[in-house]
Amino acid sequence: MSGAASWSFEESDARRIDVLLGSFLRESHARCALLVDRTGQLITVAGERPDFDSTAFASLAAADFSANDQLASMIGEQEFSTLFHQGEKDSMYLADVARRVILIVLFDERATLGMIRIKVRSMVRELAEIFAQLFQRVMGDGGGSRLESSWVDEAEDEIDRLFGS
């Protein structure tokens, strides 16, 4: 059942992606790259640690992308596969990855939009491949990995403690 299906992001996935994002950051001179899934959850961060609240950031970035999907359909486009937000000093460039994940690149005047755009395009292809494999693995598992029942017991205790029993 899709409602309960979870997906997992393994350390091996993280390593492959880290390598990819690392070389992208070096070549593009961007400051930081984040991967967020379409439901608004942060998957990973590479480069300079952002000093903002990354949980909130991830949720808003997913909403930004979703809102733009709606705008796209209103003007008769399938989607906008990339978005660009320009600031005075810092800017961000967002790109869709396989309709499941969003890549967000933060950069300042050390980088140029043109270079970011070119480098993102090729990286998105590679990321799409990694995530396609990842989601295929999850489907094959019948809904992703499961946690032990002792984890559930402890989580329930914690819920009682935090939300009052």
């Binding site: 309960a4 979870s6 609240d53 909403a63 002792s150 402890e154 329930e156 939300f163």
Partner: protein, 192 residues
Amino acid sequence: MSMINYASREINCKIVYYGPGLGGKTTNIEYVYDKVAPNTRGKLISLATETERTLFFDFLPVDLGTIRGFKTRFHLYTVPGQVYYNASRKLILKGVDGIVFVADSQQERHDANVEAMHNLYDNLAEHGHDPRRMPFVIQYNKRDLPNVLSLEALDQALNPTSVPSFEAVGTRGIGVFDTLKAVSKQVIKQLS
């Protein structure tokens, strides 16, 4: 759809507060924000119109702490109630792990409750979710008002499958945590 991130050792679950406009969804989340320990909650984000009504969503992350090595977090979302915001409601349901339906107990809101429930079923179906088979609780809110429907009448209209339901007075916090506790436990159980 919750994600177990083995790389960052994190588990995030998404709980969505759904229901008719002005039923008390934002009130629920604001009460949670006020009452949980400050170190367990993130920023409360509200994308609202200038008239203070929810435009896109309210969002509040709540940390359960680290459980068996996994930092576990609930993402609480509300959706806008007004009919014309259905597009944003659909987006927020993407990847949902559990639903709280906040019904307005007042007689004159009966039709709005029913309409919102139908809308929820339709939108979940579009995402391939079966509401009868996912973590789901109902909150009958505004029990403090004089013109409320009986619980029987509300159950009959809104709860044919007898999911757990809670009476609440959101503005005073009554029932808010009982509701959240019930849905979050259901969500947690789905992960094992």
